[in-house]
Assembly symmetry: C2
Homo-oligomer: 433 residues x 2
């Protein structure tokens, strides 16, 4: 993989959030200087990558100036972040990727955005997303190869972080919308437990599916951001994998895994065993049969409720995937939905059972490296199940495909173990180097 750092203006934007934070704390740089370098990079690279929906340089710099004038509020004081454009911001428009909401200006912040501001972070701008965070791409390009997909729906967030335009970004995942673009773009992606990062103020919410996600170029950055957003201390990084129990989970979708993913999982298992971890094959029981269909029912019905007015007034203008999904959902009765939820609950119990035998699962992040166009819907088979299970997931950019594109490894832990999964991820990443 060519080094993206050399592809555009480099300066403070090349550093991670933790590195920047140390420099600010030591008085070696300012938020204004960091934001300026990020803006320079965006100006140079984003006309090609198209990762940003809204950037107002003056507004970003004025936030940075205010940060520089104030005492430090948190370890991420003065650090810029990009916000997926489905999250409301009181001072920047939010279009939800939709023509219906073009130029819409919310009056309030989504809770996570408000918490970032309270911590003294700089909201650099809004990252492009797909129409209502659906899986149909909208022309954001993968920084590693402009002819390839950056993944969806948090594609702008993933591309902006991968291309060193910003150290951190906020996304979300309903199917595979955080892990998939992070893996395609070669950055660290973290999808929280269903309720592990606050969802307050999120519009069009599918209450049992929509999950918050974070992007960064290092696990320490994710842990620091999560700590700021929850108000709690992050777990100390795990130093050794000795006797850590790791389940290798190929999932029922294994036949869809591309050669680079097969190879990545095999190599990871070998290296982790060499580092002292105790590995075993973690199969998924027959309880999971048909879960893809249950997922579709839940996603469809909750999506229809969440976008009821938009579906009523604008269905014909929405993309084919949304139209099909909402139309199919309108035919499901409450009993069908309840049955799908019962199935999901039974699988959640089975998932909890899998973690009696291991501390963490490793499993593919994606079917393979980024697909070779920017218009097709990517395969999120290796993500949807974990989203529905509500478990925390982390993708680490540890491998490379035949076409020189990044390939990720996905780590999955039990519900609520977000801090521990992040702490273990660092040790796994170290072992894979």
């Amino acid at each position: 993989m060519p080094d993206l750092r050399t592809k555009g203006p480099g300066g403070l934007n090349l550093l991670t959030a933790v590195e920047l934070s140390e420099k600010i704390a030591a008085g070696q740089t300012t938020s204004v200087a960091i934001v300026q370098d990020c803006l320079n990079r965006i100006k140079a690279r984003d006309p090609d990558i198209r990762g940003w929906a809204y950037v107002d340089p003056d507004l970003a710099l004025s936030q940075a100036r205010a940060c520089d004038a104030q005492p430090r509020r948190s370890p991420l004081h003065g650090i810029p972040i990009g916000i997926k454009d489905i999250f409301d911001t009181y001072d920047m428009p939010t279009a939800y990727g939709s023509a219906i909401y073009k130029g819409f200006q919310p009056t309030m912040d989504t809770a996570l955005v408000g918490l970032m501001r309270r911590a003294g972070m700089v909201i650099l701008g809004k990252c492009r997303t797909t129409e209502f965070a659906s899986p149909v791409p909208v022309g954001v390009r993968n920084p590693h190869d402009f002819a390839r997909s950056p993944g969806v729906s948090s594609s702008g967030s993933a591309a902006a972080v991968a291309d060193f335009m910003v150290p951190l970004a906020l996304g979300s995942q309903t199917g595979g919308s955080t892990i998939l673009p992070a893996a395609f773009c070669g950055v660290v992606g973290y999808k929280s437990s269903l309720t592990g990062l606050d969802r307050g103020g999120v519009r069009h919410l599918r209450p049992t599916l929509d999950t918050m996600g974070l992007f960064a170029r290092g696990i320490a950055d994710i842990a620091a951001l999560r700590s700021v957003l929850t108000g709690t201390n992050a777990a100390a990084p795990v130093k050794s994998l000795k006797d850590v129990r790791i389940g290798v989970c190929r999932t029922p979708s294994w036949d869809q895994a591309q050669p680079e993913t097969v190879s990545a999982l095999d190599t990871a298992a070998r290296k982790l065993a060499a580092a002292g971890a105790k590995l075993h094959d973690a199969g998924m029981s027959s309880a999971f049969d048909g879960l893809a269909q249950s997922f579709n029912v839940i996603s469809g019905v909750e999506g229809l409720r969440a976008m009821a007015t938009e579906a009523r007034d604008h269905l014909a203008t929405m993309n084919h995937w949304i139209r099909d999904s909402l139309t199919a959902a309108s035919k499901h009765d409450q009993e069908t939905y309840d049955k799908a939820q019962l199935h999901a609950v039974q699988c959640q119990r089975a998932t909890a059972g899998m973690f009696e035998h291991c501390d963490i699962l490793i499993t593919p992040s994606t079917a393979g490296e980024a697909i070779a166009d920017v218009v097709s819907v990517s395969n999120s088979a290796f993500n949807r199940t974990w989203t529905l299970m509500g478990v925390p997931c982390v993708t680490i950019p540890a491998f490379e495909g035949l076409n020189g594109m990044p390939v990720g490894l996905q780590l999955v832990g039990p519900v609520g173990s977000d801090d521990h999964v992040l702490a273990l991820s660092q040790a796994v990443a170290d072992a894979l180097k």
Copy 2:
């Protein structure tokens, strides 16, 4: 205090959620039987208490029948709960206590409501709240004395649980809206860490203040419900207070404490010390000076953003407290708001420092027992600071005032320690018996 159990129809509604759950699991009762007994109690008592905004007996019973026909989804499968009427429900109207939204039918569930349904709980109905959860009462009566206040804004939730109409209820707290009505009505109230219970789908959200709250008649019920809503296991109840470090925090509002509250805190300290706990006086540093004003700025500005369209179109029709609060907020510029948030962050650090010396604080739940009318605004001085700090709070109904009304003791822990605070609360409650 007269026993409320004898004041109306008694049956399964007299049991706690945990007791009911055991009976259902053992096949000794059904969700339909439980819901029917709750409905009977509501029919008999609510014309006087006025705690419910919406109850459709057929809809509640049909949910219960569906639960009885299905495998158990969670430990609270088949258990009914009341929902404060600021939380959207796809199948029941939600008026936010406001004439503007009279009869409004949302299309989707608030996330917590959706999670309750997924766990197989029965949404019994909507509990009355004040206009946009403001502190101005709306005529709900305290079950212990109809001439006294049940507290606000989750007054319907607190009254319904206290009067054995339902074992559990969902509320929220921006100032003192969970702890205060729980204490006035003599039930257990739990206000989570700011992001400790999911806020997804909550309308009119003040992102750095609005916090979710739960009501029950026992701490075990709260712990069970929290576990269902977060997907994680509750901490085991603490059995002994030996060497538990407890800070007695009178707060800078101590001069407002009524004799019953002074006596409650003194008695609690004596009994907890006798149970082996290590007590000390936990003073609040001068960092907290002026925090009431910072609270008002934050609450006002975030409230104005959250209710922007309502304030623009309907300000003249809203109650005096909302009008005054939003009008004052409209005069604050961004710098004033940022300064207030900086003050809050500095106090959050000071609060974290207080917990270096103790595992938990005990502090008044309210200034005193329920005030002697149902129209005045109650004093939430002993709640607002903790809300702004984002810390978990529990009120235990352990004492009685001169007028025979319940008096609570408030337990406060560090951010994110919700499970531990609940586990300690049980031991504290036992020691106070």
